[in-house]
């Protein structure tokens, strides 16, 4: 295992009852890299994120973060180790203010991170610090999830469909923000349906279907790959 890898996932399998959501997934993330994770609905992208971030426990396989085995590490520990995430459906602490949302993460995870004011302006919520986060719109709530993750000073950030529901202008800003984070050395896994978003952010993507990896490489190569095209556009079973 190369020490350059921030995260390595080897042969990870996750089943729910008789349904296999992940089937022998293996990949790695390098330092400062933005890895794209794409695939049709139900292909296992979010399950993959949940297994990595400690919400689910893998049935088989191994997970290493910064060289440490994290197969049985709970989410609250992972955040202390420098892993954090955003959620497809935003999950802010709705009854608490934006400031409190950020404060909690910053006080409980004592890692080097941006200051609260800096994060607030980074996510464009500097004028809403004392607003109850439940009153924010869903894009703002997603950005608050991002802000809360940043408050923990992550080395690896899992970004789950951050772009969904954003208008083109917001998307451009978000892409620029994520690129800035990558320049600071934060590695990312980006799950996304919007291909333009993925294209601008990533050099390497993994295409998933039915819990398995079917392609790894650049997005441009992916769209020329027969299996990827078949999975996305439909067609006869092989």
């Amino acid at each position: 295992m190369s020490p350059d890898y921030v995260l390595s996932v080897v042969d990870v399998t996750k089943t729910f009852g008789s349904f296999t959501a992940l089937q022998g997934m293996s990949f790695h993330v390098k330092k400062g890299e933005i890895l794209g994770l794409v695939g049709p609905n139900g292909s296992g992208k979010t399950t993959c994120m949940n297994v990595i971030s400690g919400s689910y426990r893998a049935d088989r396989g191994s997970l290493h973060f910064m060289g440490k085995n994290i197969q049985r590490t709970p989410a609250s520990k992972l955040s202390h180790m420098g892993m954090n995430r955003t959620f497809q459906i935003p999950r802010p602490f709705k009854g608490l203010t934006v400031r409190e949302n950020l404060q909690i993460a910053a006080t409980f995870v004592r890692r080097e991170a941006m200051g609260l004011e800096e994060i607030a302006s980074f996510i464009g919520l500097e004028d809403s610090l004392d607003k109850e986060s439940g009153m924010l719109n869903s894009t703002q709530q997603k950005l608050l999830d991002l802000g809360r993750a940043l408050a923990t000073g992550p080395t690896l950030l899992l970004v789950d469909e951050l772009g969904a529901g954003m208008n083109p202008h917001e998307l451009d800003i978000t892409i620029e923000r994520l690129q800035r984070l990558a320049k600071q050395g934060i590695s990312m896994i980006v799950v996304e349906h919007l291909m333009s978003f993925v294209r601008q952010l990533t050099e390497r993507v993994i295409v998933m279907n039915a819990g398995k990896e079917i392609f790894e490489g650049t997005l441009d190569d992916a769209v020329r790959n027969e299996e990827v095209v078949r999975v996305y556009l439909g067609g006869g079973t092989p």
């Binding site: 971030s53 400690g54 919400s55 709970p74 989410a75 609250s76 992972l78 955040s79 202390h80 954090n84 995430r85 959620f87 999950r91 802010p92 602490f93 709705k94 009854g95 608490l96 409190e100 404060q103 909690i104 993460a105 006080t107 409980f108 995870v109 999830d145 809360r148 993750a149 408050a151 923990t152």
Partner: protein
């Protein structure tokens, strides 16, 4: 600093009122029960207000404390204060044994805790255990009866309870508990040990109910299982907290003074009107003010202690 001042003055005024209350209005029993309900309401507040777990069976800890403290006094001849501490410790142990209940959430947890309290009640009041708990015939602590001392002890327990709530209201521990109430998954990602925090709040509220139960037993000195395992105790404490508003120090205090005041004003003389008003009040509250009276002030921008 301003926060500490506000919380401190609320604390002081409340305690002073109970300390001198009997000189204003001589019904000591009313004041004592007021303290009991306020402490229990704050116990509910610590669990429900801060973590969102509503324990219908909260009275189980109260009864456990009452019985345990009584047994320590009658069977082991311990000092009442030591016995009360023992009652608190016993409730704490029962809380620890029941902590798997926290795996449930929402209504399931409420019902689960209710069932647990009924289990304790039927065990304690079982005639087969008459040799130990005196079964359905209750306890008699007349030999230890001391209304002045028990009133003072209750005041101290109330002070500790209020202080704990005030601490949670302004500390990062309390903020973390509220975060777990809002979203447990996000709370974990924010580095909060969710399960440990919840169990801590649960045990704290159990300890409070146990101490209060023990003191209550000492104060009234003769009681039956259905006195200290009366579900109305849970309901009163819950309604007081809901009325005022959880996750605040002042909410349950306001709830207790208004509703318990109402109860003493017309609840005993005209119970039918009281129940009508009470019922209407609860319905209105749930419909229009689910976060209690305090949420009104919060909406206006006042930072309620």
């Amino acid at each position: 600093m301003r926060n500490k001042l506000k919380a401190g003055s609320v604390l002081l005024v409340t305690l002073l009122l109970f300390a001198v209350g009997t000189h204003i209005y001589s019904n000591e029993n009313m004041w004592f029960q007021g303290m009991v309900y306020l402490a229990l309401a704050q116990g509910i507040n610590i669990l429900y207000g801060f973590t969102g777990y509503l324990p219908f069976g909260y009275v189980g800890f109260f009864g456990t404390g009452a019985y345990a403290a009584s047994l320590y006094m009658t069977d082991f001849h311990t000092q009442p204060i030591v016995a009360i501490l023992g009652g608190g410790a016993t409730a704490l142990i029962v809380g620890l044994l029941l902590s798997p209940l926290l795996r449930l959430s929402g209504a399931y947890f409420s019902i689960g805790s209710l069932a647990a309290s009924q289990m304790i009640y039927y065990t304690v009041s079982n005639p087969a255990l008459q040799a130990v708990t005196n079964g359905p015939y209750g306890m008699n602590l007349e030999a230890f009866y001391n209304p002045t001392a028990s009133y003072a002890v209750m005041l101290v327990i109330l002070a500790l309870t209020l202080f704990t709530t005030a601490y949670l209201r302004y500390s990062r521990t309390g903020l973390a508990l509220r975060a777990t109430r809002e979203d447990a998954v996000s709370a974990a990602m924010a580095g909060i040990p969710v399960v440990r925090m919840r169990i801590m709040a649960w045990l704290l509220s159990a300890l409070i109910a146990g101490l209060v139960g023990g003191t209550f037993a000492w104060h009234i000195s003769v009681f039956y299982p259905n006195t200290v395992f009366d579900l109305n105790v849970s309901i009163f404490a819950i309604v007081f907290t809901l009325f005022g508003g959880g996750a605040s120090l002042l909410g349950p205090i306001i709830g207790m003074f208004v509703l318990y005041g109402l109860y003493n004003w017309i609840g005993i003389s005209a119970p039918q009107y009281f129940q009508l008003i009470y019922g209407v009040l609860i319905v209105m509250l749930v419909l229009f003010l689910p976060n209690g009276i305090m949420s009104l002030f919060r909406k206006k921008g006042y930072d309620v202690p």
